[in-house]
């Protein structure tokens, strides 16, 4: 129930990877036959990833994951010798984007953080209004990892194109859950992470549209068209390729299954308990994301009690104590104080079943009632 954090590796992916640890351990740069096998595996994985998102293989750069892809996209398009530049992003991005932007800010560049509405959708008017002559990049995530809101990427892409600005999207949470096609979305760069789609950890990719002027952030032996040096993680990349193929092949059935569980979970929790709120957009949301806030109770307490029942979830809430704050995403949605402390993210996976949903609803009901009984805020 915490699949947005990570997912188990699909057995088919493991099978695809295994030979590349032992029999086929080659370095793709070597000229002998062991190297050839690795080079072929790399080429095949590149085709698999490209095909899954409607790109050409030359447009795929393998990285160590979503974080590195975000770093490369954002830092790579800032010319190193061109003086001060401007980047537009949103307030609810993943830290991989936000902290990269903060770093660039500390280097003297300007960043605009566009706000979102109460459902988490970016304010397009503000985004348009913040464009400047020296704006080089807009980076807005496809779907948010906490509240699941899906952004109007096509519209942002249009704005970027009209103004001749590069557009990057972090699609780490959407691949395998909603259609991700780089031409339909109209993006110049797109980040992918393997471990969120039943692939291994430590592998990812950045799609870079042909013609995009981008510089490396890692230097060395010029692997990956010079954009990402370092001997490739062949087993990881093979796993990513397989996971991408499976994800796009099964997208229709998996997404439908997850969405049915999502909608059932939400409506049953609302039936079972008063004073509940759904965070994020009601319909423009990831098919596997449920993010609820419960009045009178605190997120970590719920999380811990669910954990004791074998249910893993996450929370963007944090008990005050002034040492911890609620997540930047919940804060950006401007939740009322009553709701901001009691949030839970339940992120479903394709292997979950309706029985799992039954168990979660029953457990949540019991736990929330128990905690509300302990709470001075509720009079139950």
């Amino acid at each position: 129930m915490d699949h947005s954090a990570t997912t188990p590796v699909d057995p088919l992916v493991v099978d695809a990877m295994l030979p590349y640890f032992s029999e086929m351990f080659g370095n793709s740069s070597s000229l002998h036959s062991f190297g050839m096998e690795a080079a072929e595996a790399l080429a095949r994985a590149r085709e698999q990833v490209a095909e899954a998102i409607g790109a050409s293989p030359e447009e795929i750069i393998f990285t160590s994951g979503g974080t590195e892809s975000d770093n490369l996209a954002i830092r790579g398009v800032i010319p190193h010798d061109a003086g001060k530049k401007h980047i537009i992003t949103s307030v609810i991005e993943h830290p991989a984007v936000l902290n990269t932007c903060a770093f660039l800010e500390s280097m003297g560049h300007d960043i605009t953080y566009v706000p979102v509405d109460a459902d988490g959708i970016i304010d397009l008017q503000e985004l348009k209004g913040s464009i400047r002559d020296d704006t080089v990049l807009i980076s807005v995530m496809h779907a948010n990892n906490e509240v699941g809101t899906i952004q109007p990427i096509e519209e942002i892409a249009k704005i970027a194109k009209e103004n001749d600005i590069y557009f990057h999207t972090d699609a780490v949470q959407t691949v395998g859950k909603v259609p991700v096609n780089v031409d339909d979305l109209g993006v110049d760069m797109l980040s992918i992470s393997s471990h969120k789609i039943h692939g291994p950890k430590g592998a990812g990719a950045l799609y870079v549209r042909k013609g995009t002027v981008i510089e490396p952030i890692v230097f060395g032996g010029n692997h990956e068209r010079g954009l990402r040096s370092g001997t490739e993680n062949i087993p990881g990349i093979v796993g990513l390729g397989k996971a991408m193929s499976l994800a796009s092949e099964l997208l229709g059935t998996d997404a439908k299954h997850m969405q049915e569980m999502r909608d059932s979970l939400i409506s049953r929790v609302f039936d079972a308990l008063p004073d509940v709120r759904l965070n994020g957009h009601p319909t423009q949301r990831l098919p596997n994301n449920v993010n609820l806030s419960f009045k009178y109770v605190e997120g970590e307490s719920m999380l811990m009690m669910l954990d004791m029942k074998g249910i893993a979830v996450s929370t963007g809430s944090a008990c005050s104590s002034k040492s911890m704050n609620a997540s930047h995403v919940l804060t950006s949605l401007k939740l009322e104080d009553d709701y901001i402390h009691g949030s839970l993210r339940i992120s479903l996976g394709k292997e979950n079943t309706m029985e799992d949903v039954d168990y979660v609803v029953e457990s949540l009901k019991e736990i929330v009632l128990k905690l509300r009984e302990m709470s001075p805020l509720s009079n139950s």
């Binding site: 009178y296 109770v297 605190e298 997120g299 970590e300 307490s301 811990m304 009690m305 004791m308 809430s317 944090a318 008990c319 005050s320 104590s321 002034k322 040492s323 911890m324 609620a326 104080d337 009553d338 901001i340 402390h341 009984e373 302990m374 709470s375 001075p376 805020l377």
Partner: protein, 122 residues
């Protein structure tokens, strides 16, 4: 990250509730902060005969509230006022780094309850 004792105290908290005809009540926190701890006490001959808590907050807030009520129950009010962070930490087998100061909240609520009692019985 939490000790066994914290988890045990959190899952089976002692003295949950409100004493209706309490001799002293202490409450700290607000919904903005996210922590609210309410402690009510019943006192006879300066001894805390009964004590109950209601807490809105995290695992630490709930487990420290429970531990504080256990430690204070049966104590003379002056003794109870002497309870320190260390006593709560010891009762809970320690708290994770960054949260070790949180045990103070429940103690503050207890102190307010005792002061409330002393105020009323001057």
């Amino acid at each position: 990250m939490y000790s066994k004792k914290v988890i045990e105290e959190f899952s089976n908290p002692h003295n949950v509730g409100v004493i209706e005809d309490a001799d002293g009540v202490g409450e700290i926190g607000s919904t903005v902060d996210g922590d609210i701890i309410n402690i009510s006490i019943k006192v006879k001959d300066d001894v805390i005969e009964d004590i109950k808590f209601k807490t809105f907050g995290c695992v630490v807030a709930i487990s420290t509230s429970s531990a504080v009520t256990r430690l204070a129950k049966g104590k003379n009010v002056d003794e109870a006022l002497e309870l320190a962070n260390e006593d709560v930490l010891e009762a809970l087998g320690g708290l994770p780094e960054g949260k070790d100061k949180c045990s103070g909240f429940a103690l503050d609520a207890l102190k307010l309850a005792i002061e409330d009692y002393q105020e009323k019985n001057k």
